[in-house]
Amino acid sequence: MKIRPTILLNLLLLAVFTFAAVSAWRWPFATRLFVWAISVPALLCLLAQLGIDLRQTNQAEMSENVLETADLPVDRSVPPKLVLHRGLNFLAWLLGLFGAIWLVGFQAATPLFMILYLKIQARSGWLLSLVLAAMIVAVQFVLFDRLLQIAWPEGVLISWFEEIIQG
């Protein structure tokens, strides 16, 4: 038997609310009052929901329509294993972009990400990849650099190189 994602999410929230309620114990009354006022009913709701979900785990799985929420719709046409595989792949790209920003800074990381994603993931031609990357660089320069005057954080690698050069 495998635990459904909704139960894992429920357990995570239970842990968070329990931590919140316990850690507020040593705070002054005025500060901890609101924490308890929301943690206690939330814990009750989560426990009730967990009970409902666990009772169903062994014999049943949810029909697709039961998962409907007043949120943007979820497409369930892709098999779960493929969803996980593609989801992790996309997460790796996000982490890659973050890592690149941390190492070489925004200005170098964004065109690098654009070109690599378009070439490797989208399998686009060089011309299209370079044009789209150039467009992003232009937007970044005009909107963020000039108009919003953002002070970009320097990449860690760039800082190291500067330190080495300066002795």
């Binding site: 909704t6 005025a30 409907e68 593609r86 989208a122």
Partner: protein, 501 residues
């Protein structure tokens, strides 16, 4: 009030504000035409770029974006049978069969005109509501606003899905997240884990981008959709469709009224409004039981006027009580906070000009949106067929840049990735996301109102008559939630558990 309305109209017609409204409308139309994106995502991405704008410029642009994506969402729905947004699902039932028999142009004409009329109807109702509900809002004090905040989260949580306990819990989780940072009363750091970044609390916009924008892009990449080419029949017959909308004026009025009503109920919003309007049209229109679902233009008109009218309705509780009528309105509340606008009495007293500016923007945006759609449907249809793998890296980079705008720290990017993971997990596991944002937005307001109420009235504030009425409404809402929970349990299907599950 009339003076404020006139001043707001005069303010809107300045070239600068009209230009920004127009930019918002164009962005809203493009986002509406791309299946999977839409106003909520667009708004979340756009807000960080308006940080330095004057509210009288930013508001028309944001309202413009929000008002029209339910106008252009008809395009992929009618041409490809894929809804542009959740609010146009019912339109497909008759719009797509019309396109298949060569009447796409007529369906577009009817849909655009119905959208415009519905949008203007919503704006008029919103303006009237300011007059009618104004005195009620002014009579409220901190205890009532504290209770209204709790009521809003309970209601959005309860009505936002078939698992109300999850909705309420996630709304309270949003409140908990809002408490991260310095305590407003005594300056005690709460759950900052010695991080300087967390001392000022989590930036609303970074959390919103993580919860909504990245998970949507991820799902589009996972699905890897590629829509077919645009058929030629997207061009002709729109004038006939426009005449259809006017011929069915009573249906337009009924659908618009239903749209406003559904929009004003917190937690319902876009994903059901079209179905309600379609259902009432099917019940009330002559001969509908035989023709609906087979390409009846009335089946296009009813949901289209309702889904544009809903924004006017959703703005009523958002502006007057700080209770958003939908997920988009929860994100709009984030924009209000950033601009220094406080929903409630101030919106009908000191900020009345801003309120009317929003109403005028809503009406004018619908006219602009319809005009642009009538002339540029083929071009917008091409946007709808862009390959997602080309779109995804562009949107990801823009989202990263937008998130970094919040506090201009790398911590924003860490928060973005953490909340993206949470948002995607919530979406896939069937936990509604709008209550989280609502809790985060209302957290500081509710906590401050509670503190003031206790200081001024002690625990006795709970016995004030209006507070008691709201408390009863909260109990009724939770009771309704429990009833819904029981009903949803009956929908479980008993099948053997597969290994991969």
């Amino acid at each position: 009030m009339i003076e404020a309305a006139t001043q707001a109209a005069a303010a809107l017609v300045s070239p600068e504000r009209i230009a920004f409204l127009f930019i918002g409308v164009v962005m809203g139309l493009i986002l509406g035409a791309i299946p999977g994106l839409g106003g909520l995502i667009g708004l979340t991405i756009l807000i960080p770029f308006t940080f330095d704008f004057d509210p009288t410029v930013a508001l028309p642009m944001l309202i413009g974006l929000l008002a029209v994506n339910t106008t252009s969402d008809t395009i992929p729905g009618v041409l490809f049978g894929v809804p542009g947004t959740a609010a146009s699902q019912a339109t497909i039932l008759d719009g797509y069969p019309m396109a298949q028999r060569g009447e796409a142009g007529r369906a577009f004409g009817a849909a655009y005109m119905a959208s415009m009329l519905g949008g203007i109807f919503g704006a008029v109702v919103l303006a009237v509501s300011i007059f009618v509900l104004g005195p009620l809002v002014l009579a409220f004090e901190s205890p009532e606003f504290f209770m209204l905040g709790i009521f809003g989260i309970t209601m959005v949580g309860t009505l936002s899905g078939k698992f109300p306990l999850r909705g309420i819990s996630i709304g309270f989780f949003g409140l908990l997240l809002a408490m991260i940072g310095l305590d407003p009363q005594i300056g005690l750091p709460r759950w900052t884990f010695n991080s300087i970044y967390l001392l000022d609390g989590l930036p609303l916009i970074t959390v919103a981008l993580g919860i909504f924008a990245i998970p949507e892009i991820a799902d589009m990449v996972i699905k890897g959709t590629q829509i077919a080419d645009v058929p030629k029949e997207a061009l002709g017959g729109r004038a006939e469709g426009i005449r259809d909308a006017f011929r069915n004026w009573a249906l337009v009025l009924r659908g618009s009224a239903m749209g406003v009503w559904i929009g004003a109920i917190p937690g319902l919003g876009g994903s059901v409004v079209d179905w309600f309007a379609y259902g009432q049209a099917r019940q009330t229109c002559k001969g509908a039981s035989e023709t609906f679902g087979k390409g009846d233009v009335r089946g296009v008109i009813a949901p289209e006027c309702a889904n544009n009218a809903k924004d006017g309705g959703a703005l009523i509780p958002t502006i007057l009580f700080g209770i958003p009528g939908s997920g988009s309105m929860a994100v709009l509340l984030v924009a209000f906070m950033i601009m220094g606008l406080k929903p409630g009495p101030a919106m009908i007293t000191t900020q009345l000009d801003k309120t009317y500016l929003m109403i005028w923007s809503l009406a004018v945006a619908n006219v602009f949106g319809t005009g642009i759609c009538l002339f540029f449907t083929p071009q917008l249809a091409k946007v709808a067929s862009i390959r997602i793998h080309l779109l995804a890296p562009v949107v990801v980079v823009v989202v990263f840049l937008a998130a970094f705008q919040a506090t201009r720290s790398l911590g924003d990017l860490v928060a973005l990735i953490v909340f993206s993971l949470l948002g995607w997990s919530m979406k896939r596991a069937g936990w509604s996301r709008p209550p989280l944002i609502l809790g985060l937005v209302l957290g500081s307001i509710i906590e401050t109102r509670l503190y003031i109420s206790l200081q001024l009235h002690g625990a006795g504030f709970l016995l004030r008559p209006v507070v008691l009425v709201i408390l009863l409404l909260i109990i009724a809402t939770v009771g309704y939630g429990a009833f819904q929970e029981r009903r949803s349990k009956q929908q479980w299907v008993k099948v053997p558990v597969r290994d991969e599950d």
